[in-house]
Subunit: 381 residues, 2 copies
């Protein structure tokens, strides 16, 4: 059977590994588990599982808007933000249109763009940073403005965030016909005061769409709830391609419940702050140089093949992410866990450091040196 030609360009997703005999630090999930208030809301919704979920998503939109201090008409929930990405592609991308995506970032921007036959142009990240200058250089390299630019901040897998000034610099210098999609999946974890909050900018920039998720800080990755924030005009456009019942009913209930669980968010952030501090100290002691992450994970070069490094750590009881699929075959990405989880990780990291001699790491260390001088460097120490 003849398939669409674009399918040959679509590569299968590489998920964070899970092993029954190991803790999972490979997918940046919340180490505290799900929000208890979310689970309670799910339990209350169980008996209505036979009824189609609210297709208009009124309750969920209203709860999100109330939490953010905006309007329900500026919110579009999705089956995870992955689905919001495909809605964006289905709404705006025509075959052959150019979209800009960072060289080392989350795979689903390219997935969604390819699904609609757009042409992907990778913006170089020579020191693992996506800069406004590199983006604007790519924009200017062709006469027609790109159809869309995808910016992940804090970036997966580096953790490096755009500053407010950097994001404004992009938004103020691209055509209003160019859609700027900012993925804020890890935004809640950012601690530096300069980090860009794109959500606060959607009223000013009608070409901006911001993605948020309940998968990370609220601990609801299994429930699949993400959303887009933009002007009511953009949201109405996206609505045209939304499946009638795209967000499952228990997911809607979970998200609404989680939004009221401020205590869980506070505990999650405190766990992340403590874990970040301990993991940075440990990595420094062992000679690793993590990038200046504003998220719930750390990314660092191991020297040599990261898959072999991940295997050593897994054999000590923790799965972490080797970043070959992100174009970084020498880097690991490790979720910041609880104290008990870091105890397990520590054994693996010490074994790794013992097996891979320090000199083998120096060349990769050099590659990320400049990244360490970035705006957020030191902000989490």
């Amino acid at each position: 059977m003849q398939v669409r030609s674009t399918l040959s360009r679509m590569t299968p997703y590489v998920a964070g590994e899970r092993r029954t005999d190991a803790i999972k630090l490979s997918s940046n999930e919340n180490p505290l588990g799900p929000s208890p208030a979310a689970l309670e809301a799910v339990r209350r919704a169980l008996d209505e599982s036979h009824i189609y979920p609210d297709g208009a998503l009124r309750g969920l939109r209203t709860a999100i808007a109330g939490h953010m201090g905006t309007e329900p008409e500026m919110i579009i929930p999705g089956n995870g933000s992955d689905e919001v990405l495909t809605m964006i592609a289905g709404t705006y991308l025509n075959p052959g249109e150019r979209v800009l995506i960072g060289e080392h970032t989350f795979s689903q921007y390219a997935f969604a763009a390819r699904l609609l036959d757009a042409e992907i142009e990778r913006v170089p990240m020579p020191e693992l940073r996506l800069t406004p200058e590199a983006i604007l250089r790519a924009v200017a390299a062709r006469r027609d403005p790109p159809r869309a630019i995808f910016i992940c901040t804090p970036n997966n897998p580096t953790g490096i965030a755009f500053t407010r000034a950097e994001l404004r610099h992009v938004l103020d210098n691209v055509s209003e016909r160019t859609l700027v999609v900012v993925d804020h999946a890890y935004q809640e974890y950012a601690t530096s005061p300069e980090v860009a909050d794109a959500t606060a900018m959607v009223n000013r920039y009608p070409n901006l769409i911001v993605l948020r998720t309940f998968s990370k800080i609220y601990g609801l990755a299994a429930n699949r709830i993400g959303y887009g924030v933009a002007t009511a005009e953009r949201i109405a456009e996206l609505e045209r391609v939304r499946l009638p019942f795209n967000v499952n009913g228990l997911g809607q209930a979970a998200a609404i419940g989680a939004l009221g669980d401020d205590g869980f968010v506070v505990r999650s952030l405190e766990t992340n702050r403590r874990g970040d501090e301990r993991m940075r100290a440990l990595l420094a002691e062992l000679g690793y140089q993590p990038l200046p992450s504003e998220a719930n994970f750390l990314c660092f070069p191991v020297g040599g093949d990261a898959r072999a490094a991940a295997e050593i750590i897994a054999s000590h009881g923790a799965t972490v992410r080797a970043l070959g699929s992100f174009g970084l075959p020498g880097h690991l990405r490790v979720t910041i866990g609880t104290d008990q989880q870091i105890d397990v990780l520590e054994r693996g990291l010490r074994a790794l450091a013992a097996q891979i001699p320090p000199d083998a790491r120096s060349d990769h260390g050099a590659r990320t040196g400049a990244a360490n001088s970035g705006v957020t460097a030191g902000s989490q120490q």
Copy 2:
């Protein structure tokens, strides 16, 4: 912001109405509620809500395949079968390619086709029946074979099912380059021995994809689990466009739990059989002529505007579906409920019959006369 041109052709979905003060017989949900075994499985899965669901869907595929006596490689689960439809479109439909869809059927075939810029050709259903002859006539009307044909059997909203011979007639007479998509959402309810089971035909016809769902007989509409069945080659093609985590974790657990709940299926079928009998007798007494449904709903012309009729019934405590969005502005579709629900419905139907004089119904009755002579007529009496 410029949107894709196809968006102007995409009409918003019209969902079955829900009112807090009325029972819901407007969306063909299971009147017994969700499968208890499914709920138990969900409760057990709750504590892992923070972990991404199994992206490979191994457990769910294996459970479905085991239940059907087929292979996991022949199954592709979706976020409801709605999403499987968009995956089919994303895999096979190129701009301008022709797809055939019945005149009065579920809206999401056209939605998915339009999303990928395909050209929709409606197959006439003059007596509310989609026939192999009408399909093959439409196929032959142009030199190039259509890219796809969508067949809903039992059909939503008429309830009329294809016979085995009818489906084979289509499959044996279309090009192997034409995809035949059979939506079996209501298949479990069919009682006539001649009704086509497309699932049993996928090994013989590599151009056949069958859709099934957990939303109806298993009572899991809120959980969003549907799936496609086809040869392993077709499934591998569809996999290319599947989102990594398209089926939420609790939905996966619910579906696996439901598959072991044979008792619930038996009770659901018995409830449907009894309700079908009672509702047919009631409608006949009142002078209405329902189509020969093989599903968990009955469809009949009311005489005059079905929206007004639905409003009368709703005012007596039951929401039903007026079929204007299906191109049948004079017809209602009513879910077969429990005895208590039919008690409520009965009051509404008696009020309706009293308010709309019998002569106003006769012209619509004529239109469905031939449909009543169909193969499945009488099989449920």
